[in-house]
């Protein structure tokens, strides 16, 4: 700082510890006061960082706006002697504060910060005398103070601590303040009715909280088959599920946090009604008073139902009434079900109780679903493989020394099968003419090739040339990289991932599996893993020891088939679960 004796005595310098900040970072502000005069200066600590954030002492501006002050505001009297600190000539006092405790720095922007120098009370007099001057208007010739402007950039938005200048409720709680009490108002309700309503509202809060938690906490793969959701809202659809989840977030917020009003004067033959454009007033009718507190068409559930009607909450309609109608609606018209108030009520009441647990996938009989399988080829396969290049659209099942060819589009075995492997697959080495462990197509850099595995060895077949490449068989361990011990031979099944798992190849053995990356040509880190812990909705008996696995193609794309004995399961790659 340039020293200029005539124009200032006290120089305030502000400096942040960084030029730019990320959302999670703290922001240290260094506040330094330098006595640039030749006499000692006493400075009142009030309205300076020397006392922490007890005053709105900075101008904090960004994008033409002012940041909101978060600290306390004090009504003070007259300072005492020890509220002052003395700075000797040439001395600098430096203090550090956490800036975000004083101001709501939430929006990503460039900020400029200036100290409100007029707040500083300082002078060359003895503090005892200075205190007397405190209440007096600013005398001419008093100390001059100058200050710089500090700037910083907030790179990422933070969760704001204020909304429209008013602290958010959770911020108040963090500071130990008591949040505004939610009030319920009544019109035309006897004391006994008020008590009933209070209990019903408390039940509605419980219902809404549980419903919202059930929806939010169900993992993605389990949502496809969760019975409780399907019962009331129909077949799983990501967008519909998300809509219903949002509905319950807002239903819960309304009953838990908003001020609701209840009108007991109506006499209609109904449970209750609301005007969707007038939150949060609920008109209670005849049937409400005789309904049970909990259960189907309960008092608690009625409040959930009515709250869902408000346009600001979920804007539901009444398409059908009653559980029976709601179940039918879910099956036949899920788009209306997610817009139906009773459906939300029944989901929340959950009577009879259903869970959001996923349902295990089905076990299908191979011969019943794969067509024209010849005798001896209805199960117990060794290996399976999709054709590629000139053989695209077909798949092959191998058993012993024979194989069959399946046409995906026709969804049946082609004429003339089974055939002998050695007669139709060319240049097979002696040891590789049947009884394979499994086979898989190369991908990425290895497209156009397929691999047959047996024991500790494998061969590579070229689709274009329709024969085994020279130099095979080779040892698996020497050519497939970073396979863990125990996973270098005798695989049960091998399959390429689909959907979000494309580019990966899965080798199964016993109850475990490893994942191979075609692009990097190596096993991914962290394997082997347990099949049952990572593949979802596997039915009992189908958590390992598969015979073979095959990727679906054509109209069956997006599915993976895992065969065992005479049966198979069907895996949905996108949803990451075994289908019913």
């Amino acid at each position: 700082m340039k020293k200029n004796a005539s124009s200032s005595n006290l120089a305030v310098s502000l400096e942040f510890d960084k030029r730019t900040y990320k959302a999670a970072e703290s922001q240290k502000l260094f506040f330094a006061m330098t006595n640039e005069s030749d006499k000692p200066i006493s400075v009142l600590k009030w309205h300076t960082p020397l006392e922490g954030f007890k005053s709105d002492m900075f101008h904090v501006e960004y994008d033409g706006k002012k940041a909101v002050y978060l600290g306390r505001v004090y009504k003070r009297g007259v300072p005492a002697e020890d509220d002052y600190v003395t700075i000797q000539p040439g001395q600098t006092l430096k203090y550090r504060i956490e800036f975000t405790e004083g101001y709501d720095i939430a929006e990503s922007a460039h900020y400029s910060v200036r100290y409100k120098t007029h707040l500083l009370h300082a002078g060359v007099e003895d503090p005892k005398l200075l205190t007397k001057r405190y209440m007096a208007p600013k005398a001419p010739g008093a100390l001059s103070v100058r200050s710089n402007t500090a700037i910083f950039k907030l790179e990422e938005n933070r969760r704001p601590k204020t909304v429209n200048g008013i602290e958010t409720a959770w911020m108040k709680i963090l500071k130990g303040a008591v949040p505004l009490k939610k009030t319920t108002s009544f019109n035309g309700c006897s004391l006994s009715q008020q008590s009933t309503i209070t209990n019903a509202l408390a039940q509605a809060v419980k219902y809404a909280a549980e419903a919202r938690s059930a929806l939010t906490n169900t993992p993605g793969w389990a949502r496809y088959t969760a019975r409780r959701y399907q019962e009331w809202f129909g077949a799983y659809d990501g967008s519909r599920y998300s809509t219903v989840n949002g509905h319950f977030d807002r239903i819960w917020d309304a009953v838990a946090n908003q001020n609701m009003a209840f009108d007991c004067t109506p006499t209609d033959n109904a449970y209750a009604y609301v005007y969707p454009t007038k939150p949060y007033v609920v008109y209670l009718c005849k049937l409400f008073w005789t309904a049970p507190l909990t259960g189907t068409d309960s008092q608690g559930g009625t409040i959930v139902h009515e709250t869902s009607h408000f346009n600001v909450v979920a804007s539901t309609d009444d398409h059908v009434y009653g559980q029976s109608g709601a179940r039918t609606l879910a099956k036949n018209n899920p788009n209306d079900a997610i817009d139906n108030a009773d459906s939300h009520e029944y989901f929340a009441e959950n009577t009879p109780a259903l869970t959001m647990d996923a349902v295990p996938g089905s076990i299908f009989k191979t011969a019943a679903n794969w067509h024209k399988l010849p005798v001896g080829f209805t199960g117990g396969f060794d290996a399976s493989l999709n054709g590629a290049g000139p053989f695209a659209g077909k798949c092959y099942f191998f058993k012993g020394d024979k194989y069959i060819r399946y046409d995906w589009t026709k969804d049946s075995v082609d004429e003339g099968y089974p055939k002998k492997i050695a007669d139709n697959w060319h240049n097979l080495p002696d040891t590789f003419r049947g009884s394979f462990d499994d086979a898989v197509n190369g991908q990425g850099p290895f497209s156009g090739k397929c691999y047959f595995f047996k024991g500790d060895s494998y061969i590579r077949y070229d689709w274009g040339a329709d024969k085994v490449d020279p130099g095979y068989p080779k040892k698996i361990a020497a050519n497939w990289h970073n396979l863990p011990p125990g996973f270098r031979d005798k695989f049960d099944a091998i399959i390429n991932g689909g959907g979000p798992f494309a580019g990966k190849c899965y080798f199964f053995k016993g109850d475990s599996y490893v994942r191979y990356d075609w692009q990097t040509d190596t096993t991914d880190a962290g394997y082997p893993k347990k099949i049952a812990e990572n593949w979802h909705c596997l039915p009992s008996g189908y958590t390992g020891a598969f015979d073979t696995a095959l990727e679906g193609d054509k109209q069956f794309s997006g599915k993976g088939y895992f065969f065992k004995g005479d049966y198979y399961i069907r895996y949905n790659w996108q949803g990451d679960y075994a289908e019913v």
Binding site: D268, N269, A270, Y271, A272, Y273, V274, Y275, P276, T277, Y283, C285, L287, D297, T302, H305, E306, H309, D317, D318, V320, Y321, G322, S324, G325, A341, D342, E345
Partner: protein, 132 residues
């Protein structure tokens, strides 16, 4: 927005050869207690501002009996549930869903899951809203 009421007449006629018992709920015979109309003015859909009600099962007096060729009429004020802007053409169509039509006296009243609904045909009402 209009401040004067907009009175619309509604008539329901029994075109069959026998008596019918009709559930008045969700028809103008009970006033406007649900989203039973499609209202649009100059092509813009007008939002519903009336009530939505959670109902139980109907009682006997929620039905009205109509003999063959008999009709019943009611009037309702559209503005109790819709705010209408100044416009050259408002169209009001009753959606037409009659939630229960009963052919035998002894079946009246009956619970929701036994209701037999029909969709009645009717003409829309068209009018304009002008300043005075």
């Amino acid at each position: 927005m209009t401040s004067a009421p907009v009175i619309i007449g509604f008539a329901l006629e029994n075109l069959s050869s026998g008596d019918v018992w009709v559930l008045k709920w969700y028809t103008p015979l009970e006033g406007i207690k649900g989203r039973i109309f499609e209202v649009s003015c100059d092509g813009v859909e007008i939002p519903y501002e009336g009530m939505l009600m959670k109902r139980g099962d109907p009682e006997e007096n929620d039905y009205i009996q109509l003999g063959s060729a008999e009709s019943v009429r009611a009037e309702f004020d559209l503005t109790t549930a819709y705010s209408l802007p100044l416009c050259s053409e408002c169209t009001v169509t009753f959606k037409g869903r009659i939630h229960d039509v009963v052919l035998n006296r002894q079946d009246v009243p009956r619970p929701w899951d036994e209701h037999q609904a029909i969709d009645a045909q009717g003409d829309p009402v068209v009018f304009s809203v002008v300043a005075v």
